[in-house]
Structure formats: structure tokens, C-alpha cells
């Protein structure tokens, strides 16, 4: 049975193909359209997943859509009524898009999937999130927590998954939203909403959480059970085109920071404060859910589940013993969730195997890579598997920055060794080099380590796997020789790598350890600021040539920058991508 899951029209649209309960392929539209956080109908991603499954639209048995558009529309109308006349600007901007597109989801799907004639099924937004994490987790039974900006009405929910069924018990409703609260601070700190929330998380360790008590007293009314209400006096996201208003600015003693301007202790402290508040809410929610369900396993999804600092605290500081976070925890993962919901819950089908990796995107074989490189006039050497590992590890140990393009692309926002930039974490200058000369991004942003799973607890204060780079742990005191992946508070957002999930990447890190004694490499996404992670050999080659990367490893092909001819008809990437 083939089920296609689709998520789109808000941000990060994506498609996933489920065959007999197993995800055959899943891909975000942005990777193929090259438009960051692309929200349009994922026509390219649908085409790709169907091709990967070797079928056409006519062979699908069902199509699932990740939310309920009419409930969302009802929420919007209610909001316009409640905030009249201030909501006029928002109404005028949103209505044409709704009337033209968002109210006609079934027609759009039928048009894009001709000649598909089967059912189109809709799941609630938070049910899609819940299904996206529970059905691919290794747990037969688990508590589920979903937290995001907003779906239809719900902004957070919890329940229990058992076998092929999920029951959601309770929810927090719009406008009270932890995701939107965090986004409001993201906006106030001068970063892009729905895109740069992770920068606030990265900024937080530089500051002191001096505003926590004030925020808790005045802005967030938080109960012991993790439920909360926001004081909407400070926000404008319910009626306006911005997230915060004058009252919020007065509260923090100044207007929102202008993007790309200098940051001071003030911004650091505000970031530290909202991060702390976010952690406190998630921790209280998790403790309450444990109390209600008495289960020791927890699955999490929704944009807030990408807050790996909060996730790390959930596993350390609540009674939950095991945690599974969906790697595409944001709305893209809703495509996987709704497909599973349709197949497992509605279709009452047994569950397939748990996910062990997130390599669900396109891959290119050596013939395709060579065809591209020859066409581009690139100079390269072809290596064996063993030489790819040996040479790349040696180059990293010698201080080179490597573009690493292997196998299938990752699903979700993190590069996990399929489309990564790799470097030596021992070099204290490497962080600045990568930030300034290669990624062209803000200097404060930390880099993440990939570590051999069997050595993780030796190097980091962690005793579970973090295969999707969604947990933060402290670097052990005796192991602080990896400054480029150690944040100012000695934490690191790590990926644990197993041979089962990623044999070549595992061997590469193993070889690096043999050369240096360190089983850790820097792993950052293969892109420049504002660009979606590379997908094709063409994307990878362009990114390699436009930045100061030293080498590129494309499958079995090794390219050295110095040997490459200049790019033909190149354009400045700064004009091509909007900064995030």
C-alpha cells in the first residue's frame, strides 16, 4: 500500500512516501526548489518521492494532508474578529492567499497528482506531529509531547501512543503558544521568524538569564503542570504583521534590534532569559505528562522539539528514561506523520521498523556525479572506499575544510554526514574560519560535533544516543581539547554516529581518531548562509567553488579547490539567497 504524505502552505513544505508502513523517501521542497523554507505545494518533492518509489501518482492508494485547512481558517477568522480593527493589515495580507490557494487544498492536490483518483485524507496538525515521532520511534508504547507555533488551534498537545494508535488528551490553544513566544523574542532580537530561532538558542549561553523572573511574572503565567497563558498585551502576532509591540519594547527598554546590527550584553541576556523560560515550560510539561501517563518513554515533535538544549534537560531532569525526537520535528515532518496516521491508525495496519537514520532524500551514483563533473570541466581523482576514508581523514587532520557529499540526503534541518562540511575540532581558530570564510554567518554561532557513538559518553556527559543532533550535552572536563565544537558554556550539540546508520561516515571519524586520538569531527551543514542545504552534485560544486572550502568529496571523487577552473557564468551567492 502506497501512501503519500504532504505538508505545505505554511513553511518548510515536504512530501513523504510510505510503502507498507515504511518511509521509502521524504524530502523538503526547499532542497529542490533552492528557496529556503519554501512553503509552496511541494511539486518537486512529490515527483522525487514517487520516482524513488518507482511509481506514478495513479499507483497511490491514499494521500494525506498534514492539517485541517478549514479549522485553521476558522481560527484566523476568530482572531480577526477578536482583534478588530487592529487586524486589518493582517486580514488584507492573508485573505488573498487563502482565497486563491489555501482553501482549495483538495483541488490543488488532485491537479498536481493527475491521474490520482483515490481518497485525500486530513489529519489534525498536532496529530501529524505526534504520528511523525511515535510511529518511527522504537517504542511500542510512549507518551507524546508536541509543541510548536500553532497548528489549527492547538499550539501544544500531549497524549499516548500505543501500537498503531495515538490518543491525544490535552492541548494548549492559540494565542497562547510557546513556539510563538520564542519566535517573538527571535523577532525582537533581530532574527528571522520561523527560521532563525536556533540562533537565539546559540546566543543564550553568552548571556545571563536576568529577565526570567520578570518574564514569568508579567508575560508568561505558568502553572506547575506546564500549562500557561501569555499576556497578549505584549504581542502583536495575533493581529499584526510583527510579533511584538510597543509594550514589549517598553518592557525590555528599547525597540527590536535591527537585523545585522551589533549585539550587546543586553541581547545576550534577553536570549538567555527566553531560553531559560522555554526550558522551564518544557520541563514542567514533561514532568506533568509523566505524572499523567506513568510512562518512562517520551516522543517529541513540533518546532520547539528542535530546541536541543531543552531536550537535553528533559532526558536529564525528568523521570523519562528514554526520549525520541523526530529529526524533522518541524512542519516538514508532518508529511511523514500524516502518512503514518493514514496507514497505521486509520488503516489499522501494524507498524514497520523504527528509524535508525534520516537518510531519506535523493542520492546520486558515481556515474551521475562524474557526468556532472566532466560537464563542468572539474578536475578530480577517483578513490576507492578505503581511500575516501583515509584521504579525507588525513586532510581534515591537516586543517583542511572538506565538503562531504555521500549517499542519500538527510530529511530534516540537520546535516548528518550526507551533506556536511567537515573540519578539525581541535583547532581553536576553526570556528572563526568556518563562520567567516566558509559559511559567511554570524561569529557567535557554535559548531556541532559528530562523535563515534561508542565513544560519546567518554567525551560528553551523555549516556544515550543522539543520532539526529537533537541533544545538547557538556563536554567532559578532561576532554576540552575540541574548542571549535565547545560552546562558551562547555556544551555541545552532538550527533552520535553508528556504523549501522552511516558506515562510511563512521569509518571516516574512526580514521580521524586513529590519526589524532580524537573520535570527533566538526559537522556543519553543507550550505552558505541563507541557502538550503545542497542536494545535487551541482549544488555541492557551486557551494564549494563559491566559498573557501579546501576540498570536496563527492561520492568517490576528490576535488581540490586549487585545481579547479573558475566557475562559468557565476553569480554572487549573496544576491541569490536572502540572509536568514
Amino acid at each position: 500500500m502506497n501512501v503519500l504524505g504532504i505538508s505545505c502552505f505554511y513553511h518548510d513544505s515536504a512530501a513523504a512516501l510510505l510503502r507498507d508502513g515504511v518511509v521509502v523517501a521524504a524530502c523538503q521542497e526547499e532542497r529542490l526548489s533552492r528557496k529556503k523554507h519554501d512553503q509552496d505545494f511541494p511539486a518537486r518533492a512529490v515527483k522525487y518521492v514517487l520516482k524513488q518509489g518507482g511509481i506514478g501518482p495513479g499507483d497511490l492508494d491514499a494521500v494525506g494532508f498534514y492539517d485541517k485547512p478549514l479549522l485553521k481558517f476558522e481560527r484566523m477568522l476568530s482572531t480577526y474578529i477578536a482583534t478588530f480593527p487592529r487586524s486589518f493589515g493582517s486580514f488584507r495580507k492573508a485573505m488573498p492567499v487563502w482565497i486563491k490557494e489555501k482553501l482549495w487544498v483538495p483541488s490543488i492536490i488532485r491537479k498536481e497528482l493527475r491521474p490520482y483518483k483515490g481518497p485525500i485524507l486530513f489529519a489534525e496538525h498536532h496529530m501529524s506531529h505526534a504520528a511523525s515521532c511515535f510511529f518511527v520511534s522504537p517504542f511500542e508504547e510512549a507518551a507524546i509531547l508536541t509543541v510548536d507555533g500553532v497548528g489549527e488551534w492547538a499550539t501544544a498537545s500531549f497524549g499516548v501512543g500505543k501500537g498503531n494508535d495515538i490518543t491525544l488528551f490535552k492541548e494548549i490553544r492559540f494565542p497562547h503558544s510557546l513556539g510563538l513566544l520564542y519566535s517573538a523574542f527571535t523577532y525582537y532580537l533581530g532574527f528571522k521568524v520561523n527560521s532563525a530561532e536556533y540562533k537565539v538558542m546559540g546566543l543564550a549561553p553568552y548571556g545571563k538569564p536576568v529577565h526570567v523572573d520578570r518574564i514569568m511574572k508579567e508575560i508568561v503565567h505558568l502553572n506547575d503542570d506546564g500549562s500557561f497563558k501569555l499576556n497578549m498585551k505584549y504581542f502583536s502576532y495575533d493581529y499584526g504583521l510583527t510579533m511584538t509591540n510597543g509594550a514589549f519594547s517598553d518592557f525590555f527598554g528599547g525597540p527590536p534590534r535591527k537585523p545585522e546590527t551589533w549585539m550587546t550584553e543586553r541581547e545576550f541576556d534577553i536570549a538567555a532569559s527566553i531560553q531559560k523560560v522555554c526550558e522551564e515550560v518544557v520541563l514542567r510539561m514533561a514532568r506533568y505528562i509523566h505524572e499523567q501517563t506513568r510512562l518512562t518513554r517520551l516522543c517529541m515533535a513540533g518546532g520547539v522539539a528542535l530546541n536541543c538544549v531543552a531536550n537535553g534537560r528533559v532526558i536529564r531532569e525528568t523521570p523519562f528514561k528514554e526520549l525520541f525526537v523526530q529529526p524533522a520535528a518541524g512542519d516538514a515532518g508532518g508529511s511523514v506523520g500524516v502518512a503514518h496516521y493514514v496507514y497505521n491508525t486509520l488503516g489499522k495496519q501494524p507498524r514497520g521498523p523504527a528509524w535508525t537514520h534520516a537518510y531519506l532524500g535523493p542520492e546520486y551514483d558515481d556515474a551521475e556525479i562524474r557526468g556532472y563533473l566532466d560537464g563542468a570541466g572539474a578536475t578530480y581523482r577517483v578513490l576507492s572506499d578505503a581511500d575516501v576514508v583515509r584521504e579525507t581523514a588525513r586532510l581534515i587532520a591537516d586543517g583542511n575544510v572538506i565538503g562531504w557529499f555521500q549517499g542519500r540526503m538527510e530529511f530534516g534541518p540537520r546535516a548528518l554526514g550526507g551533506r556536511s562540511i567537515l573540519a578539525d575540532p581541535r583547532d581553536p581558530k576553526m570556528r572563526d574560519t568556518l563562520n567567516m570564510k566558509i559559511k559567511f554567518r554570524e561569529g557567535f554561532r557554535p559548531f556541532a560535533p559528530s562523535v563515534l557513538a561508542d565513544k560519546a559518553s567518554e567525551w560528553f556527559e551523555i549516556d544515550c544516543d543522539s543520532p539526529y543532533m537533537l541533544l545538547v550535552a557538556q563536554v567532559r572536563e578532561g576532554k576540552r581539547c575540541i574548542p571549535s565544537v565547545t560552546h562558551v558554556d562547555n556544551s555541545a550539540r552532538l550527533q552520535t554516529v553508528t556504523r549501522e546508520a552511516s558506515p562510511l561516515y563512521y569509518d571516516l571519524i574512526g580514521e580521524f581518531e586513529r590519526l589524532t586520538g580524537v573520535p570527533v569531527v566538526i559537522n556543519t551543514s553543507f550550505n552558505v548562509r541563507g541557502e538550503p542545504i545542497v542536494c545535487t552534485p551541482h549544488d555541492a560544486y557551486l557551494c564549494f567553488m563559491r566559498t573557501n572550502m579546501d576540498h570536496l568529496v563527492l561520492g568517490h571523487h576528490l576535488l581540490e579547490k586549487k585545481q579547479q577552473p573558475p566557475l562559468r557564468e557565476d553569480v554572487d551567492w549573496r544576491t541569490q539567497y536572502e540572509l536568514d
Binding site: 485547512p69 487586524s87 500549562s227 493514514v342
Partner: protein
Amino acid sequence: MNLTEYVSRLGARLAHLPTHTKVLLAFATSVLLVELAFRRFGPRSKAYARWTKGVEAVGAVWTAVLLSIVYLVSVGPVSVFMKLTRKDLLDRAAGSDPTFWKAHEPNPLGALAAARHQF
């Protein structure tokens, strides 16, 4: 009725139209003819791109005008009624409830039937 007769009757009817209607009709016909001419003879031309941009700008103004009317006529009165009856659709009032969790209400249609709908 033959074609000549039909055309002459149509001409007579048009001639009797008020002047402002004639002007509007002539304007609409010209816009249609220009659009058709561009589509036929220069679909990729710069002039057509500029023309489209201009027409879209006019469309944006009209959309704004129409939406303003819809907003005032439909959203406004309901909002006033809600305010008079002291009902807040967003539940924004600060409260001292021991919990703000709300029960997740399953769709009364049942899971499968509910999934067939967008609500």
C-alpha cells in the same frame, strides 16, 4: 436574424448606452485587446512584463478596496457584537486557573469520517 442585422441591432443598443458606460466598455475592450495582442505576439516581451505588472498593481488596489469593505461589513459587526456580549474568541483574559490545559476533543464523526473532511 442574419449577422448584419444582429450587428446593427447591437450597434444601436450600444449607441443608446449612457456616456460613462460607453467609456467603461471601451476601456475594458481595449484592455482585453491589448492583453490578447501581447499573448499572441509578444508573450515574453519586456513590454508585456511591464503591462502585467501595471495591471497587477491596479488589481492589488482593487483587492485592497474590496477586502476593506468585506472587513468592515463582515468582521466589524460580529466583533462589535462579541465585545458587547463580552465574549473573547481567543480566551486572552488572564486567569488564575490551576491549569490551562484544555481537553483535546475527538471529532464526533469518528476518526476515519473526520479524516475525509478539512474540519
